[in-house]
């Protein structure tokens, strides 16, 4: 009788390799898709929150500025012209065309808002209060809302769209209100949900009071800062 000794430490068969590779691929795919999905959701959430926070910051700044918005009325205008300024303080363009040249009303176009506001000059006793011009402009290429005032500008980033409109509320159709829509940028997650939107309505205390309280007979001219 002839004995043949077989060493069990042989290599692996092709089938074993195929099955092993398949199992590893499935496990790897499951783990990597879980991890990437998790990373995506985290990033999605954090970027949304950050952009929303910046939008909120921009709205707060805009609200603070617009609260003091007024037409710029000089002594040269005279009383009759002043009355016209006070009763129709806005210059509205429904299109995207910008206002050019000197215009001293509150100018509203879809992507630009320019107005004069009472300057913060402390407890000034000047009979003609100082006003300064503020511009909010949306640059669609960079996705920035740019605020310019007094030679300085600040940027609010991370927006896909910013739109300004004006309307009058049924409750008091004499006083125009500013409406703004901010759509957050979503370039990092193009295929997912719709980009987040925030809409706000803003009013100017000066405009509202000068229209509601015409009996006060506001007769004060302004000076540019």
């Amino acid at each position: 009788m002839k004995e043949i000794s077989i060493n069990r430490r042989t290599g692996v068969t092709l089938i074993e390799i195929v099955v092993g590779t398949l199992i590893i691929s499935i496990v790897f795919y499951a783990v990597s898709s879980f991890a990437s999905n998790m990373a995506f959701k985290y990033k999605h959430g954090f970027v949304d929150l950050e952009n929303f926070r910046v939008a909120h910051q921009a709205v707060n700044m805009l609200r603070r500025d617009y609260k003091m918005a007024c037409p710029y009325i000089t002594a040269g205008d005279g009383i009759e012209e002043m009355k016209k300024f006070l009763l129709t303080p806005l210059a509205v363009s429904a299109g995207a065309a910008r206002f050019v040249g000197a215009n001293r009303r509150i100018r509203v176009t879809s992507q630009q808002l320019v107005f004069f506001k009472f300057a913060d000059t402390g407890f000034s006793s000047d009979p003609e209060p100082m006003v300064e011009e503020v511009e909010y402009r949306f640059d669609s290429d960079s996705g920035c809302l740019i605020r310019s005032c007094g030679g300085q500008s600040s940027e609010f980033k991370g927006f896909k769209e910013v739109e300004f409109k004006s309307f009058v509320h049924e409750a008091n159709p004499h006083v125009p209100v500013l409406w703004a829509k901010i759509v957050l940028s979503h370039e990092y997650y193009k295929d997912s949900d719709k980009p987040l939107e925030l809409t706000v309505s803003l009013s100017s205390s000066f405009v509202a009071d000068s229209i509601n309280r015409s009996d006060w007979q506001y007769r004060t001219f302004h000076k540019i800062k």
């Binding site: 002839k2 879980f34 929303f52 004006s166 009058v168 409750a171 159709p173 939107e197 809409t199």
Partner: protein, 189 residues
């Protein structure tokens, strides 16, 4: 000649032998136990993001109501007009489906077509079922208290809850309240 194949017993090390079923089950269970908190935290991040965004939106809705109240002349109808800004940010259609409310726009003879007339809240607001209440209070106590009115705006909303009755505020899960003072110039001495 008869050939006998003699199996040689080889003591395999832990690294060369295969995995048994209990080992695989245990490994999968261990992975699942480790992955579950990660998955839960991912869900929490999403939920918290949604909650924060709803909070920002609620704040803006409250601020918006205050802006509207400030448009009103403070006269004998002030309280009624101000409280008229209360209501849901959703409206119910004839077929019982819900849609985002439209702003109550009016007309101004000077501006005509330049003013927007069809403004609507984003449909993204729908899932939170925002509801806004406006209350006007008269103050008492100090001599000058008659000169001002206190306006309290409360915005209620729900985070990921299905709502059947838009006007039922008892089940709302979140709320934010803002208050402001409005001067009543007519009551000046």
């Amino acid at each position: 000649m008869k050939t006998v194949i003699k199996r040689q017993t080889v003591r395999r090390s832990a690294f060369t032998r295969g995995f048994s079923l209990p080992e695989i089950v245990l490994a999968v269970a261990a992975f699942a136990i480790l992955a579950f908190p990660l998955y839960r935290s991912m869900q929490t991040v999403q939920t918290d993001t949604r909650k924060s965004i709803n909070y920002f939106r609620a704040m803006e809705l409250a601020n918006e109501a205050i802006e509207y109240v400030r448009l009103l002349p403070v006269d004998k109808n002030f309280e009624r007009n101000a409280e008229g800004f209360s209501g849901s940010i959703l409206v119910e259609r004839a077929d019982s489906s819900l849609e985002a409310a439209r702003l109550m726009t009016g007309e101004h003879p000077h501006y005509r077509d330049d003013l927007a007339s069809n403004l609507q809240y984003s449909s993204q607001y729908n899932s939170a079922y925002f509801y806004r209440t406006v209350e006007v209070h008269t103050l008492s106590g100090a001599d000058y208290s008659g000169l001002v009115r206190k306006v309290v705006v409360t915005v209620y909303w729900d985070n990921s809850v299905s709502v059947t009755n838009l006007h039922d505020l008892t089940r709302k899960t979140s709320k934010v309240t803002l208050a402001t003072l409005v001067t009543d110039w007519n009551s000046q001495p």
